[in-house]
Assembly symmetry: C2
Homo-oligomer: 138 residues x 2
């Protein structure tokens, strides 16, 4: 299996609300490949981020869904501590919930917000992980 990941799907309860958060809230442009219940954003490097009804996602994956957190976090790394604060603030203004305010860690400066469906995003400044165009350059 090649060392790559093409698409991350986030199961959502209210597709319109989730699309509004990522679209109007964060300012992301939806892909024209979106259709029906499948809302697609193509991110840097050709990585897809999809919004899809959570019950269908569980059903298709053959999994039971206890609800809540599932042990997966998404990180948006930035180039400075100041940028962490800025992105967290912008996300909260767009309707996100701040679940872990930014703080100094052993590895840098990070904080977490959750999107309207509770999916956690870490906004992180990690000096030991150099970036190139916002992606890892290690």
């Amino acid at each position: 299996m090649e060392q790559r990941l093409t698409l991350v799907s986030l199961g959502v309860a209210d597709l319109k609300a989730a699309r509004r958060f990522y679209g109007e809230g964060l300012g992301w442009k939806q892909s024209s490949a979106s259709q029906g219940d499948f809302v697609l954003f193509v991110l840097r490097g050709g990585l897809g981020l999809a919004l899809y009804p959570r019950h269908l996602l569980a059903e298709e994956a053959g999994l039971a869904d206890p609800g809540g957190f599932g042990g997966v976090t998404l990180a948006h790394n930035v180039e400075s501590a100041a940028a962490v604060d800025q992105v967290l603030q912008a996300a909260v203004e767009a309707g996100a919930t701040l679940t872990a305010p930014a703080s100094e860690k052993q590895w840098g400066y990070t904080g977490y917000f959750t999107d309207p469906d509770g999916h956690p995003w870490e906004v992180a400044y990690v000096p030991s992980l150099p970036l190139s165009g916002g992606m890892l350059d290690t």
Copy 2:
């Protein structure tokens, strides 16, 4: 917030077992930026995939963890239905659990496996999502 995602972290119960699955099992090369409890694989396009203790991930994100699925799936898209079967078989041989055998869908041909910690991967052939080097080209 820019339209990008830098790193996906998978919370794991047994770091050694998870590292064995992705490393020896799937044949992925670990990044030298890994340290301590943080095991990093740099995927195509500079996307990071990290393995990290699940209880620490929940704690850092400020979230309760009911266990199990959390409404997030990862997809590995390929160029043909035959490649879906091949990748699913390789994953199962590496210790994955087949939770949804590959089948024809309205949008293509896909199946799901879970890694040793229950994180679901879809292996997908989706003709309406053209690929370039394994990443989306839409």
